[in-house]
């Protein structure tokens, strides 16, 4: 179910209305049911993957703490995904579940159970690390298979054919489950936190299942930390009208960003980044700019709706964006863009690799690995790897190269700030051009188009106005939010002005683009 589908407001209203009238235990059941319903709208089958991740990480985290469940409960958790698939296979005629899937699910459950029981026989000193490894291996295997299997297979095939070999591998038709990267990383983060004693272990399976599948942030984040979300799920939250107000405003703003800004900017970006497009420098720049606003409106709009929906339930989700296009340097950009992912990579990849504690060479290596993985996280394509490498390169230049001059503390004059901002914005735009290009050759085409300046065409001018028309309200909104506390809030404005803005936003949302585009980050 998408946030922009007609079903979502009904689901959310239903959950919110009932939620506040229930005792704590039943609230969790309601959230779990709503979350699985929300996900099942895409594909019933892939709920089994969420069940697997939840079960594996729940048991492994307990194992790390040396806590063992009785065999009956363990078996129930381990065979839950298989049971789900089997139930759907029997009860739902068009569930598209076949014998192979059942066999794979059963085998995976048995393999996990085998490892799990074996680890309990190991010495206590190595048991914790073994459970951590089991969790990481299991989760990354699922993620790797569903997201990267064909990519690695194709890439290996290309390498072999370069050496004159012609591998005849079968290509599998694998559907990418929505949100798999998000909930896998969230769940993995929990297990690592428990292992590092940076987070409490969750002993209640129901609470952990809600943590793993909480519907507002299930499919596109923010990637929550266990120490941020679990305590909120564990306590009986009191109703607050303030939360309700903030939640509604966040949802409205998020819809506005997605439907009015992102979907309309997408028309220009889709044209420019179409392989058949004839580009010159004007069009290339316009396309990159349009995509910059599209992806920001799309993703931060999604985050706002997610945060607003959670706020209606009294739960605060992490802030994922902090005016990213005001960044003055590469490091600043990653402190503002997709914060939950960048901090995840920082805490679980970059720092464990050594961070910036070693020699410059080691720091460069750590940065490179982290950013390449961050790029690959976005999608199984070399274009995303290039995007990650590009940002890694920028960070290296910022740390050790000529871009150190962009360090904000060095500026004493206003024009220096402007210059730094302009330079960083140009780098960001170039990055988005890589990210949006359908292939490396198309990116090269986009890049060469920047060298072709000619007369300004009327269609370009009218497209430019189209962009301004849809971006200017967002910039105004951001300017107001900036004056507030960094969130998407309009509170500093007088209530009369806010009332007018709310009404205008509602009308603009209703009157915006027809083709309902899916959120970009759903594919990641």
């Amino acid at each position: 179910m998408s946030f922009v589908s007609w079903q979502f407001p009904f689901l959310l209203a239903f959950v919110v209305l009932i939620y506040w009238r229930l005792p704590h235990k039943y609230r969790l059941w309601l959230l779990l049911l709503a979350s699985y319903t929300f996900y099942a709208f895409w594909d019933l089958r892939f709920l089994a993957l969420i069940f697997s991740t939840t079960g594996v990480d729940f048991l492994c985290a307990l194992g790390i703490k040396g806590e063992r469940r009785n065999l009956k409960k363990t078996l129930a958790v381990v065979f839950w995904p298989f049971g789900w698939l089997l139930g759907c296979f029997w009860l739902i005629p068009d569930s598209r579940i076949d014998g192979t899937m059942l066999l794979v699910a059963l085998t995976a459950s048995l393999v996990f159970l085998g490892f799990y029981l074996t680890i309990w026989r190991l010495r206590a000193e190595v048991r914790g690390r073994s459970f951590l490894l089991l969790s990481i291996l299991f989760c990354l295997t699922i993620l790797g298979f569903f997201k990267y299997f064909n990519f690695f297979l194709d890439s290996a095939g290309s390498v072999l054919s370069f050496f004159g070999l012609q591998p005849n591998w079968p290509s599998l038709q694998i559907i990418l489950p929505v949100g798999i990267s998000f909930y896998t990383f969230q769940s993995l983060g929990y297990v690592v936190d428990v292992y590092r004693r940076q987070g409490e272990v969750c002993r209640d399976f129901l609470t952990f299942a809600v943590f793993d599948a909480f519907f507002p942030q299930l499919v596109a984040g923010p990637i929550e930390r266990s120490r941020q979300l679990l305590p909120q799920l564990q306590q009986h939250l009191a109703f607050s009208a303030g939360n309700l107000q903030d939640g509604l405003v966040l949802i409205l703003t998020g819809l506005f960003k997605k439907v009015f800004v992102a979907d309309n900017c997408a028309l220009l970006a889709n044209y420019v980044f179409d392989p058949a497009a004839e580009l010159n420098a004007y069009w290339a720049l316009l396309g990159a700019l349009a995509f910059a606003f599209q992806i920001y409106g799309d993703f931060s709009g999604y985050t706002d709706i997610a945060r607003g929906s959670a706020r209606l339930l009294g739960i605060n989700l992490t802030q994922n964006f902090r005016f990213p296009y005001l960044a003055m340097n590469p490091s600043d950009f990653w402190a503002r863009w997709h914060i939950s992912l960048s901090t995840w990579f920082r805490d679980y990849v970059y720092i464990p690799l050594g961070g910036n504690r070693g020699t410059p060479g080691q720091t460069v290596r750590n940065l490179s690995i982290t950013m390449l993985l961050a790029g690959l996280w976005h999608g199984a394509s070399w274009i995303f790897v290039l995007w990650g490498a590009y940002h890694g390169f920028l960070l290296m230049l910022y740390r050790f190269g000529p871009l150190t001059c962009l360090n904000r503390q060095q500026f004493s004059r206003q024009w220096q700030n402007w210059l730094a901002w302009l330079l960083m914005s140009s780098f960001t735009l170039l990055g988005w051009a890589i990210f949006r290009s359908p292939s490396l050759s198309h990116f090269w085409m986009w890049l060469t188009a920047l060298g072709h300046w000619g007369p300004v065409e009327t269609p370009w001018l009218s497209s430019w106005w189209w962009l301004v028309m849809h971006v200017a309200p967002l910039i105004l909104l951001q300017a107001v939010s900036l004056a507030a506390d960094g969130e998407t809030r309009l509170k500093p404005l007088p209530w009369r002005m806010r009332g007018v803005i709310y009404a205008a936003m509602i009308l603009l949302i209703v009157s915006s683009t027809e083709h309902d585009q899916e959120f970009i980050y759903f594919q990641f």
């Binding site: 309700l244 028309l267 179409d274 007018v500 509602i506 009308l507």
Partner: protein, 338 residues
């Protein structure tokens, strides 16, 4: 709950409600039938208290502006012309209904021809217009046959459902201002700012969707059957009222393999003959235009007529009406019968 109703929220709600109430009170004509796309039961006929009838919108499209009295004047032939953009013509005086009225009047027959044709109307929407128009005491109905508008009839029906169905996804459309805003979206009004190449790429425009649908043989066959079924019903409606009916079989201009132009009626004529009976007359555009030396001067494009084409068609119809109908029927009796 009181805390939820902040002044800003109340103001936003108040503004939206005020806009809604304002539009409904001040522009009732604009609201009525605005989102029916030709499927409103009144079909775009607005009756005034003084006994006149005004033709307004017919959904997204409009009738040619006309006003007439409920009852035709004494001894005046009231002829209705129903169809699509072909009889509607480029403008009122250039369309053949106007020419027909002039021609008949020159022949001494007092006539009032109402052009009720609307561009893109297929059999279903024309039948709605016909049902309403029959309330205004016509003496003759001229109905154009063209089975290529069924796609648009269906599309507009679905569009109408966006505004009139009780599916939860359409609940906001019960508000006029929301519906109007939504129509801006569905009609892609602001897309005019975008260059053609972007619009073409980003939207499956109506023409493309229609083209795609027309390539689906099974769908086309279904529409064709629906067209003939609805046309049969329309003919029966007219005949039940004891009125004569002229069916005009439309023809399209095409190039023959030899290179010369010809007119095709795409098998409409074959089917149209099955509708022929007492009081039902056929006029084929193919038969009217084919004998002419300058066929191409009659057509503005492959389907639409030039003012000259309209004139030729008006003359042919005037001859048919004069020969078969006017000379056989006596107006006062007809009026009394009704």
């Amino acid at each position: 709950m009181k805390k939820l109703l902040t002044p800003a929220f109340l103001l936003a709600l108040g503004l939206l409600l005020a806009a809604e109430a304002g539009v409904r009170l001040l522009l009732p004509d604009d609201v009525s039938g605005r989102f029916s796309y030709g499927y409103h039961p009144d079909a775009g006929f607005v009756e005034s208290k003084d006994g006149t009838v005004r033709l307004v919108r017919a959904g997204g499209r409009r009738f040619l502006p006309q006003t007439f009295s409920r009852q035709p004047e004494t001894a005046t032939w009231r002829i209705l012309v129903l169809g699509d953009s072909v009889p509607r013509g480029p403008f009122f005086q250039a369309a053949y209904p106007w020419r027909l009225q002039e021609t008949l009047q020159q022949k001494g027959t007092k006539t009032e021809v109402l052009n009720l044709a609307v561009a893109g109307y297929g059999a279903r929407r024309n039948q709605l217009v016909l049902r309403k128009a029959l309330e205004y005491n016509p003496h003759l109905v001229i109905l154009h046959l063209n089975d290529s508008n069924e796609y648009e009839d269906e599309r507009e029906y679905r569009r109408r459902q966006d505004f009139h169905s009780w599916h939860p996804r359409h609940w906001p459309m019960k508000s006029y201002i929301f519906a109007r805003a939504y129509e801006i979206k569905t009609e892609k009004i602001f897309w005019k700012l975008l260059p053609d190449k972007i619009r073409r790429q980003s939207a499956v425009n109506d023409a493309e969707a229609e083209l795609r649908a027309s390539l689906n043989e099974a769908q086309v066959q279904l529409w064709r059957e629906q067209f003939w079924q609805t046309t049969r019903e329309s003919a029966a409606l007219v005949r039940q009222q004891g009125l004569p009916l002229v069916l005009v079989i439309q023809g399209v201009l095409q190039c023959q393999e030899s290179g010369g132009p010809s007119i095709s009626d795409q098998e409409l004529a074959v089917m149209a003959h099955s509708l022929q009976g007492p009081g039902v007359y056929l006029l084929s555009m193919k038969q009217v235009f084919s004998p002419l030396a300058a066929i191409t001067q009659c057509y503005a494009d492959s389907a639409h007529l030039t003012p000259y084409g309209h004139l030729v068609l008006a003359q042919a119809l005037a001859e048919l009406v004069d020969k078969h109908l006017v000379q056989k029927l006596v107006m006062p009796q007809k009026a009394a019968m009704k």
